[in-house]
């Protein structure tokens, strides 16, 4: 089966510093793949290249055959790839509902004229979007907080909200950057279930960066290990767990 996201020889050089070197991945539809490695290994840099924040020094990225290398982040999102951020980037002063509604923005079709005249078209789309956003919020039980400012949510809820915002863009591929950071064990388990549920319900393909080994080993079908920008291992969770290279470079005792 042809890959949904085809990444070949992806390399990022920052004036002499090689952040990522020769990264390859053929992500198939509905796969759940994990990207792990010590801090500074280059994982977020890969995400940044995939989403157009950085322009790769070398290599090609293709989404459904579309080349992504020269595209701007907003164009890549419209093609169906959404992400969350390592350091949460919510619209802090906007409400929880508005954050999710903004995720829907690319699906709006009304323009400035309709806005000035408050047409039926606008009302229709706004109502639909509001309903759809509330549905999304319900997934994480955030619908009761819809009017709260995003910055006033507890940390774990903020992470979840960011995922919902990305989901609102109706992506084909979801890139999650450390979704479990700051979550306790129970929350992490919930997150594991939710990610799998989301994958099924929204027909998603997911690539995630994580440090929490329980989550990674628990839900990822395939794992890539990065160290100093290089891919040092690839395989199923079992293979990675028993790989001496990986254990040497990164994997210590699994988290208690």
């Amino acid at each position: 089966m042809k890959a949904l996201l085809d990444i070949t020889s992806l390399t990022m050089r920052f004036r002499g510093l090689v952040a990522v070197s020769n990264f390859n991945l053929a992500l198939k539809k509905n796969e759940l793949v994990g990207l792990i490695g010590p801090n500074g290994a280059g994982k977020t840099t890969i995400f940044n290249m995939l989403t157009g924040v950085y322009r790769p020094t070398e290599g090609q990225i293709h989404l459904n055959g579309h080349p992504l290398n020269d595209l701007k982040p907003h164009d890549i999102t419209r093609l169906g790839m959404a992400r969350t951020f390592q350091n949460i980037r919510l619209f802090k002063d906007l409400s929880v509902l508005d954050n999710v509604r903004l995720g829907h923005h690319i699906h709006f079709t009304y323009g400035l004229f309709s806005t000035a005249l408050q047409t039926q078209h606008l009302h229709q789309e706004e109502l639909e979007t509001q309903a759809h956003s509330l549905e999304l919020l319900k997934i994480f039980d955030l619908d009761t907080y819809q009017d709260l400012k995003a910055k006033n949510l507890p940390y774990g809820a903020q992470r979840k909200l960011e995922i919902l915002r990305a989901l609102a863009t109706k992506p084909k591929i979801l890139l999650l950057d450390e979704p479990a950071a700051g979550l306790n064990r129970k929350e992490t388990e919930e997150l594991m279930h939710t990610i799998q549920k989301l994958r099924k319900e929204f027909d998603l393909t997911i690539l995630l960066i994580e440090h929490d080994m329980k989550l990674v080993m628990g839900i990822c079908e395939r794992i890539l290990v990065l160290d100093h920008g290089e891919t040092i291992a690839q395989g199923t969770p079992k293979e990675i767990q028993s790989s001496p290279i990986v254990i040497k470079a990164y994997l210590g005792e699994p988290q208690a």
Binding site: R89, F91, H105
Partner: protein, 333 residues
């Protein structure tokens, strides 16, 4: 749709009657202040779109007001007035024509200003905050210097003979229109998109919002409105001079936005009224002391505001957000 048409008719009628009643109720000086309030509301609300809602640093707003004023004045003076003189004056039809042509002139002034907004905005809106500020400041000054050197619109001597077609009706008609459009924009997805750019550009781009395109659109809309304000101003005084559009004018607009609260439309309206009335209220002090303390008090007030309540009067909120908790409390009683 009918609700909207009804609202439009009611407001228009109110303004129409107001046009006759209001000037009769007050002396020309107070009336002038009232007109300036309306014009400053447009300036403040328009600047709020780009500075407050979109979070960009535009500090040359007076330049767009100048373009609008001069374009509109030139069109009225060179084309419309000669056109109207062909018709017999002092009857309803010619009055109707005059007003229609006036709207035409004002809108064209706005379009001229919008065009400049596009020319200035397109190359510079991808620059980082303070750099954008410098560019807008520079362009504001350059526009003024260019006007100074154009003789057919008066140059340094000023443009005289602009027909006095502005009145209470038109100034407040446009003010209401600008305010309504701004509120509708703010409540729409496009308005939310602008807010998201203010909050976090990188995150906004990551959810598919083309940030530079939106910034330019906000800039153009904002300039369009400022141009309208300029046209209304020109046709009220009947005279334009580049010295009315210096950095001080841009600064006044900035004060309105900051005092009202960045992003708050109601705040901008209230602040516009305050900043129009305040210097006039201080005028007696000027008479007594024979010195213009206003330009010292203004910055002092601004500094005090910055140090004590930098979020301005309304912060990010609108009047409705502040009033609604009171209404809710009443209901529960």
């Amino acid at each position: 749709m009918t609700k909207q048409i009804l609202t439009f008719l009611i407001i228009s009628s109110l303004l129409f009657f107001g046009n006759f009643i209001v000037p009769a109720m007050m002396n020309p000086y107070l009336f002038m202040i009232l007109i300036y309030c309306g014009i400053n509301i447009i300036m403040g609300v328009s600047l709020n779109i780009i500075n407050g809602i979109t979070g960009q640093f535009s500090i040359g707003h007076a330049g767009f007001m100048a373009v609008g004023g001069y374009v509109s004045a030139a069109i009225s003076f060179y084309f419309l007035m000669p056109l109207l003189s062909l018709f017999p004056s002092d009857n309803t039809i010619s009055l109707l024509c005059q007003n229609t042509l006036f709207v035409f002139s004002i809108l064209l002034g706005g379009v001229g200003a919008a065009l400049f907004g596009y020319l200035v905005g397109l190359p510079s809106l991808h620059l980082r905050g303070d750099y954008l500020g410098i560019v807008t400041l520079g362009f504001g000054e350059i526009i003024r210097v260019i006007i100074l050197n154009l003789d057919f619109i008066g140059g340094a001597r000023g443009f005289t003979g602009i027909p006095a077609w502005s009145n209470f009706f038109w100034v407040y008609f446009f003010a209401v229109a600008v305010v309504m459009i701004s509120f509708r924009l703010l409540r729409s997805s496009h308005g939310r998109a602008l807010l998201s750019i203010r909050e976090d550009e990188i995150a906004a781009e990551s959810i598919g919002i083309p940030i530079t395109r939106y910034k330019v659109k906000a800039f153009v809309l904002s300039s369009f409105f400022a141009g309208i304000a300029g046209g209304l101003f020109a046709h009220f005084i009947g005279y334009l001079n580049p010295s009315s559009f210096t950095f001080i004018k841009s600064f006044e607009a900035i004060i309105i936005v900051v005092l009202g609260g960045m992003g708050s439309i109601s705040g901008a309206i209230v602040a516009a009224v305050i900043t129009t009335i305040l210097p006039e209220a201080l005028r007696p002090l000027q008479e007594i002391t024979k010195t213009d303390f206003r330009m010292v008090i203004y910055p002092l007030l601004l500094l005090t505001l910055m140090l004590t309540r930098p979020q301005g009067l309304f912060g990010h909120k609108e009047l409705s957000d502040i009033i609604s908790p009171f209404l809710k409390r009443k209901k529960s009683l």
